[in-house]
Structure formats: structure tokens, C-alpha cells
């Protein structure tokens, strides 16, 4: 083979590979950034380097709450798992961390103390102007949906939800259950957690 032909083919093959590997930008503007990672997830800053995109977390999820990004948020999030609680929230069965082959999702036993200590998906926040209980109509649905009842959410007068930011793990079952539209209680993802890698290194 002539060197020139070879170089041309090498270049064209490389160009084809690069154009396939790098998705088009710009879609990030329209895609929602308000998503949760599955329970036990590493800090967002480390996640892309740890997750090998095997998809097993969703495969074992009995509640089908885990979905995967396409290219809409860029290549770093491509094929990584996410949860949008309004669609389907996490029931804290902790199977995904158990099956995860990497440290992207840590294995956490399904016990109250371990979950309180290890799971930080986000924190629920109540919009009192939307919440029925705060408007004088006793509701209490989110309080009853919470798997950490009386720990993460306590019920006040007229079953007004009172979230303990310290104990809420952000599973999203309250947001999923809220009968208001838009939801009066929503989980704000905990994506600002600092990378643990520098601390460890």
C-alpha cells in the first residue's frame, strides 16, 4: 500500500471515530439538570470516572426507576444512570449498589443507620405556597410515602410535612406521591458534594 493512501485512510478512519465518539453539544440547554443518581452514588464530580456504564443497576432495580442518559447532557453523562422521582422514585432496596462492579454506587446494607449514613441523593424541599396542608387542607400524603417516616419527614399541624434536611436521603418517594401539580415537595439533587478522590489521595 502506498504511504499516501495509507495516511489518507488513517485520517479518514480517525475522523470517523472522533465524529462518532463526540456527541453534538447544545442539547444540554434543553435537558433538565434536576436528576438524582441511584442511592450510594459517588459524588457527581467523580461519577463519570467510576461508572463503567454496564447498566446492571437498572437491570436489578425492582421498581424500574433507573434510566440512562443519551447524549443530551454531554459525553461524560452518556449511558450513566439517573432517576427522575416524578416518573419513578427510589424505594431504597439497595440492590443497585450491591450489583455495581465499581465504586460508582457503593454497596450499602438495607438498614436504617447504614442508609442514613451512606445515601445522599438529594434533599426534599417543601413549597409552602403549594402544599395543601400548609394551605389548611389536611393532606399528609408525602409523610405517609416517606420510607424514613418520622425521621426524614415529621408531620406537623394538619399533617404539614417538616423535612429534616439532615436525615432526608432524597429517595424522592414524597415527590412521586405528591398530589399537587406542580409538586409541593421536590427533591433537590445533591450534586455539589465535593469529590472524595482528592481527600483519599
Amino acid at each position: 500500500m502506498h504511504r499516501r493512501t495509507f495516511l489518507r485512510e488513517l485520517l479518514s478512519a480517525a475522523a470517523a471515530t472522533v465524529s462518532l465518539a463526540v456527541p453534538l453539544p447544545s442539547a444540554a440547554v434543553t435537558a433538565s439538570q434536576r436528576f438524582l443518581r441511584p442511592p450510594g452514588a459517588a459524588p457527581e464530580a467523580d461519577f463519570a470516572a467510576l461508572c463503567i456504564r454496564c447498566g446492571q443497576c437498572a437491570e436489578v432495580c425492582p421498581n424500574r426507576c433507573i434510566n440512562f442518559f443519551g447524549g443530551e447532557l454531554g459525553v461524560a453523562k452518556l449511558d450513566t444512570p439517573y432517576i427522575v422521582p416524578r416518573e419513578q422514585a427510589c424505594i431504597l432496596c439497595m440492590k443497585c449498589g450491591e450489583v455495581c462492579p465499581t465504586d460508582a454506587l457503593r454497596a450499602i446494607p438495607r438498614e436504617l443507620d447504614a442508609i442514613l449514613a451512606g445515601v445522599r441523593m438529594g434533599t426534599a424541599r417543601v413549597d409552602e405556597s403549594l402544599c395543601l396542608s400548609y394551605q389548611g387542607k389536611t393532606c399528609g400524603v408525602c409523610y405517609r410515602a416517606c420510607p424514613l417516616q418520622d425521621v426524614a419527614i415529621r408531620a406537623g399541624r394538619l399533617e404539614q410535612p417538616i423535612v429534616s434536611a439532615e436525615h432526608c436521603v432524597g429517595c424522592g418517594l414524597c415527590e412521586r406521591s405528591c398530589i399537587q401539580m406542580p409538586q409541593a415537595i421536590r427533591v433537590i439533587p445533591d450534586q455539589q458534594r465535593a469529590s472524595t478522590r482528592q481527600v483519599a489521595a
Binding site: 465518539a21 467510576l50 463503567i52 456504564r53 446492571q56 437498572a58 425492582p62 459525553v75 449511558d79 478522590r197
Partner: protein, 340 residues
Amino acid sequence: MTTPSRTFLLRRHLNKLRWLSLGLVFAMLLLLPMLSVYQNYAAAHAYDLLSADEKAFYDLMHGLTAPFTADPAEDLDAIKGTTWAGRFFGYKIGDPLSAVGQLAAGGALYWPLLFAVLIPTLASLLFGRFFCGWICPASFLYELNTGLGVWLDRIGLRPGRRRLDRRLKYLVLAVGLGLSAATGTVLFAAIYPPAVVGRELYYAIALNGFGTGAVFFAATVLFDLLVARRGFCRYLCAGGALYSLLGRYRLLRIQRVPASCNDCTKCNVACEFGLDPMRDGFGQECNNCTACIAACPTDALEFRITWHDQPYQGPGHLGRRYRRQPGGDTPERPADGGEG
């Protein structure tokens, strides 16, 4: 002529055994997502809510798994995942490229992942690129694609027959590692066909349909068809490059027996990786797929336990060239063979 011996017959069937293995792996990748859906239905006690089609699907899955488990939602978690990363009765098993990719992306390796890739890595040290020929679900589709190319050729549409430099894939591996480190992302997951195929089959069957990876995979299939036969595996696959490096000093090799060879070139035509078995040109790229053994009409290729290839042993003793000039041929591989 030597009469075909019994071992000859057994050896010939290795290629069929390989197709069986490829087919089983691919069938598992189709079955596991279905089982996952079935588990979801079972966990949700959803049978009465299902449509007629879904009920038929549920009944089928129930029939398949009922002999083995009374609690599908829990017990079927024992086998999960794909060839990229999976779980098999408590043992997690993964592709060596996933560990290498994670190491490059994060600068650190999660050590249980090292355990997961241990067996595949050791097997590659012994058997070379066997994953590519015997297990890889993308290989299964690519080889069928080669067959499609043969059919297209018959009706006058000639598939691509270009030869690039097979060292290109080591460049892809190196650049991939560099980009992974620069972006802090395990990029190989997006450009490594077996990972893509396993994941996309799962997306298609159990989630919302094919994702971006399917577009990538379709492009590689077209590349194979229009540019070079098995071009992606030969020239561009980063995992293939890693397996080739691991298998450089593999212990199980196919070697030629010149005394039985008649220089018919059938092995070279059969070789999916464009190697040169007829002139002892195997190298680290050989994936022990046994297609050349199955194609050989004179039983001149066999497995041997050795850590290096034979240098060119001269023309086959049953061939015309050797009979004209017995022993007089300089044992040097012709310059045109073996490359690309």
C-alpha cells in the same frame, strides 16, 4: 494423501463449537433483559394488570424459570449484566478494558473490579484474543455481516476489501486512554462494540428502545461492509488491541504442519482477521477462532502449546512449489503476505 484421522474430524468441528458459544452468549444477552422485565412484573404483582401480549410473555418467562426458582424477583438476580460487566452467582466478572478504562479515567482502580477482570485477563494471557472469536456478542453480528457481504458479492455488489494498518487499533487504545484521562470519563464504554451491543440490547428490550450506541454500532457494521471486511475488529477496536497485547505470549496457538500443507490458500481466505496462516503468519492478532482449521482440506493446521509462532517454514510439502524444488526454497516469508 493422508487419511483423515479421528482427531482431524474433531478439530474440524471446533469452529461449529465456536458458533455455538457465540450464539449462546448472544442468546443470553437477549434473555437477561427479558428476565429483568419479568422480574419487575413479578415484584409488582402485576399479572392481572398486564395486557394479553404481556401475559403471554410473562407465562413464557415463568415457564422457563419455574423449574429453577420459586421467587423470581429475588433469585433471578443471580445472573445479571453483559460481557462488559456481569454477575454470575455472586462472582462479578468484567472486561479487562473496563478496568483499564477506569484506571485511565480516575487515576485509581477500584480493587474489587480487579478481581472481576482477573479470570478474563488470565484466560487472555493463555489463549490470546479468544474473547473476540468465541464470546464477543459484536463479533457474532460482525461475522454474520461478513456472510451478508458474501451474499452481496454474489449479486454483484462488491463489499469493501481495503486493508489498513492493523496497528491503528493500538493508536485507538492509546488515544482512548489519553482522552479518558483528560475528560475523567470511561470513554471506552461508548466505543467498544461488545459493551455497546450488550447495553443497547438491554435498552431495546427492557427500557425505552435503542440509544445513541446503536447508531455507533450501525456505523461500524457499515464500515465493515463498505470499507474493510471485519475492519473494526482488525483495525479500530480498543478492546481487541488490549487482548492482542495480553495474548502476545499466549500459550495456545494454531500452527501449520508443512508436511500436510498443499498451499491452497483456503485458510487465508477463511481468516476473518486477514492473517496469513498459510505462511505461518499468525501473530498476536490471532484469536484462535479455528476458522482456518475448519477450512483446511489436508489437516495441516493444529493447536500446539507453545509461547511463540513458527517462522515461515517454507511451502507446503503437498504443494506444487515444494514438489518442483524440494528443500530448495529459502524459508523466508514473501514480503506481500501477512500485512494489513
